[in-house]
């Protein structure tokens, strides 16, 4: 057993201060009300202790003014805390536009992480100090939850969906990565370490070790392996739409409505192509469900993201 034990987590992200401030703010409020009630009931017990068995105190029915007072004060305070907490929350879920992208796949019972440059990690994540990092996460099997206490961030990792989480590390060091959603036998061993490195150390780490294929290159290979390119021709002459420059656009759908082309849309279109067909195209694409791994889908997405719109001069 350790003789020296901590009572407070490390604070290593840009959120930690805001979350801790909220925590101590609510704590102060709670301590105030708890002490108020405790002191009152203890004082009453001593002061109004029963003197004789037949003692009957004055019967006070109530007091409307007091009722309004102790309804209104908690109401106003509660709504105030709500506003404060919600402001912190929006900060926590809104990544800056220039955030670095990294990808997470959870499975029983490990975390598989990949950097856009191609570096893959298991149960470890290296991130540069002071850079916003946005994670796109999914699960191969059951629910998991990606939790870094020192950063005060957590998000469920859900099979069949992409969820996102972002942070900006502010302290060099190594921190716990936990799975917070019960996921079976080895749930408590689905833990890892997040290493925050100085930016130059991160660059060195990224280029060191074995050579890695960047994600978009791996994605391009898959794009050809699964013969996607036979229909999705870059010049738009194929039976499917050209994917160049498509990511991030909002397109019209066959049968009405629109869809934003994002990670979730691409994933759905690979696994269930008939769900949302772009206007002007026929639902002829076969499903790739069961043929391609979650990591493969993420690599394809990285490739499609990298495809820039063709220069106007290249068009007819």
């Amino acid at each position: 057993m350790q003789t020296d034990f901590p009572l407070f987590p490390d604070s290593a992200s840009s959120f930690a201060f805001h979350v801790d401030a909220l925590y101590f703010g609510i704590l102060a409020l709670c301590v105030f009300f708890a002490l108020l009630v405790v002191i009152l009931v203890v004082v009453f017990a001593i002061k109004y202790q029963r003197k004789s068995d037949d003692e009957v105190p004055r019967q006070i029915a109530g007091h409307l003014g007091l009722e309004i007072f102790w309804t209104a004060i908690p109401l106003v305070l509660a709504l105030g805390v709500f506003v404060w907490a919600t402001v912190v929350y929006f900060h926590l879920i809104t990544p800056p536009a220039n955030a670095m992208e990294m990808y997470v796949v959870g499975k029983q019972w490990m975390w598989k992480l990949q950097h856009p440059e191609g570096k893959k990690e298991i149960n470890e994540l290296h991130v540069p100090l002071g850079e916003a990092v946005r994670l796109t996460m999914t699960s191969e099997d059951v629910l998991h939850s990606f939790y870094i206490p020192a950063f005060r961030v957590k998000k469920d990792v859900v099979p069949g969906r992409y969820t996102n989480l972002w942070f900006k590390a502010t302290q060099v060091g190594s921190y716990h990565l936990f799975c917070a959603e019960f996921c079976g036998t080895e749930h408590s061993r689905m833990i890892g370490t997040v290493h925050v490195l100085e930016p130059q150390d991160y660059e060195a780490w990224l280029t060191g070790g074995t050579a890695n294929e960047p994600m978009e290159v791996a994605g391009e290979r898959l794009f050809e392996q699964y013969a996607c390119h036979t229909c999705h021709k870059m010049d738009g002459s194929g039976r499917g739409p050209s994917l160049a420059g498509l990511f991030g656009k909002t397109v019209a759908l066959e049968g009405g409505g629109t869809a934003l082309i994002n990670e979730a849309y691409i994933r759905e279109s690979i696994l269930n192509p008939a769900a949302k067909v772009m206007a002007g195209y026929k639902p002829i694409m076969p499903t790739f469900k069961g043929q391609i791994s979650e990591e493969g889908i993420i690599q394809l997405i990285a490739y499609i993201k990298s495809l820039k719109a063709p220069e106007l001069t290249n068009l007819e």
Binding site: F5, L22, P57, I60, P74, A150, F182
Partner: protein
């Protein structure tokens, strides 16, 4: 408070016929339609499950004394904490006060001979027993490892344990509580004695009315959800597993649509117990009666609109999360109203230091911490960090155990003379209340700190730096266990050796104290006529 014709004895020697000595055979108990006997049957049954759930809790605390998994395998540990939760929630906490003290008192408090549907009441106990047997078979036959929350797709596709059998047991237990709720609602509406207007009802009845509404409206939803889960697991219907075209988050919505209101099933009845006991302990009318009564109803209604606060990190819509968060903050208000009114009831009261008083004070302390820590979790920005950590475990134990179990034990001590006709030694009652209070805080307070440090719940092994607080928690649990064991001993002793209880040992107001201890089979020899408000210890002054 009422006119009750009392003495029908022909001779001083002949013992008065009461519900306990009116027939001794096994059949007279197992086929009884008397709500008081059914309450006793429930007390015995839920005590068995409380002991079983407590045993699993002890195993959890024993294992967590060291960071390594050295007492049992991870699979076993997962089953132990799951069965602790499932047994405690579905087989102890939900029926704890309503099916026992509520069953015994609601008809007496409204001045009725029995509940509206005595046979349905007996049926509810049998349904509970069948559910309990199924649950026990599931435990003995290998157990279940999904947690009490049964989250999909783990429960529906991946778990290798007795999910269907356990879900079936929880499903049936739900029907037992629907039947109890139905009986209470009809009884309170139609069977009040002459003069017993709604605003003369004891607050215990109000809180049981609110509880019954939740049981009636919420429980069918968990029943449907468990059926969908069983269909997916048994026959591959795709409701929740994305591989079958389902949505795992849909399960969470359905589950919490019941299970959050169910949290109020597990706290409102104890609030009713507290209102009765506070009035008696201070010998004073409950301050702001109407506000305490309506705050129960407000909690029941708002409780149906906050389920999404269990899902702030689940990928639920951000704006839905905001709505759930703000309504959750609103629920804090009626709880605060109750606490302030109880405090004001003690003001200028005549406070006696007996066992009920110790339980009232213990409850107030624990419920304060439990309720206030809810504010941390309803704050979206903070819940992201705290969700699924030991902070949540500590919070809901303060509510469910610090609140409901403290209320249940307090209520049992308060009405024990009425139920059994015997007195227990008051000093032991006070000792047990004190031990429970101290043991409980030592067990669960360190878990708040563990939670903020980031220790996730349901962890079999954990990093070393969490050990000291876990050891403290386990030590507290052993004191808590002692606090629960000794009432079992002296209360059982009192049945056989305890002195006879007078009809009204605490000098309390209420119809139950005007009838004999124990009450006759039909509660009153003549229908009471109610001419006063509840808790009229003296002439009432308006402020």
């Amino acid at each position: 408070m009422a006119i009750v014709e009392r003495d029908i004895r022909t001779s001083e020697d002949a013992p008065r016929v009461n519900y306990l000595n009116n027939g001794y055979g096994l059949k007279s108990w197992l086929l009884t339609k008397d709500h008081k006997r059914i309450a006793v049957l429930y007390i015995i049954s839920i005590s068995i499950f409380f002991a079983l759930g407590g045993l699993f809790a002890s195993l959890v605390r024993f294992e967590l004394m060291t960071p390594e998994g050295d007492l049992m395998s991870s699979d076993t540990y997962n089953k132990v904490f799951s069965m602790h939760g499932i047994i405690m929630v579905f087989f102890f906490l939900v029926p704890s006060i309503p099916a026992t003290i509520g069953n015994f008192l609601v008809p007496i408090m409204v001045g009725a001979k029995d509940l509206a549907f005595p046979r349905v009441n007996l049926l509810s106990w049998y349904v509970y027993v069948v559910a309990g047997i199924l649950g026990t078979i599931a435990v003995v036959g290998g157990g279940v490892d999904t947690g009490w929350t049964f989250y999909t797709p783990y429960s529906s596709t991946y778990s290798n344990s007795n999910v269907i059998l356990t879900a079936m047991a929880a499903f049936l237990a739900g029907f037992s509580s629907i039947l109890t709720g139905l009986n209470f609602v009809v009884t309170i509406h139609t069977m009040r004695a002459p003069g017993m207007t709604w605003f003369r009802l004891p607050l215990f009845v109000w809180s049981h009315y609110a509880t019954s509404l939740i049981m009636l409206l919420g429980t069918p939803v968990i029943a449907i959800t468990l059926v969908l889960l069983m269909l997916e697991r048994g026959f591959g219907f795709g409701f929740f597993d994305p591989n079958l075209g389902g949505d795992p988050v849909l399960f969470q919505h359905l589950f919490w649509f019941y299970s959050h209101p169910a949290v109020y099933i597990m706290i409102l009845p104890s609030m009713g117990v507290m209102s009765e006991m506070v009035a008696c302990v201070a010998r004073k009318r409950v301050f702001g009666y109407e506000f305490v009564a309506f705050s129960s109803v407000a909690i029941a209604i708002l409780g149906f609109l906050v389920w999404g606060h269990h899902m702030f990190v689940s990928s639920q819509s951000t704006y839905a999360g905001m709505v759930f968060s703000v309504i959750t903050f609103l629920v804090a208000v009626p709880s605060a109203i109750k606490t302030f009114n109880w405090t004001a009831t003690l003001y200028k009261g005549s406070i006696v230091f007996d066992t009920p008083m110790f339980y009232v004070y213990g409850y107030l302390g624990l419920f304060l911490v439990g309720g206030l820590t809810g504010l941390f979790l309803s704050s979206m920005g903070l819940d992201i960090h705290l969700h699924d950590t030991y902070f949540v475990v500590a919070h809901f134990h303060y509510i469910m155990v610090g609140g409901q179990v403290m209320g249940y034990l307090g209520g049992m001590h308060f009405w024990w003379p009425k139920i059994t006709g015997k007195m227990y030694p008051d000093i032991w009652g006070r000792v047990s209340a004190l031990l429970v209070f101290l043991g409980f805080n030592l067990t669960f307070f360190p878990q708040f700190i563990l939670g903020y440090m980031g220790m996730p719940r349901r962890y079999h092994v954990y990093p070393d730096e969490f050990q000291v607080l876990n050891v403290a928690s386990s030590l507290g649990a052993s004191i808590l266990a002692l606090g629960y064991l000794i009432p079992g001993a002296y209360l059982t002793w009192s049945i056989f050796k305890g002195p006879k209880a007078p009809d009204n040992p605490w000098g309390a107001k209420g119809l139950e104290w005007e009838t004999t201890s124990p009450p006759p089979t039909f509660n009153f020899d003549e229908t009471p006529l109610v001419t006063e408000e509840a808790y009229q210890y003296g002439p009432i002054e308006e402020h």
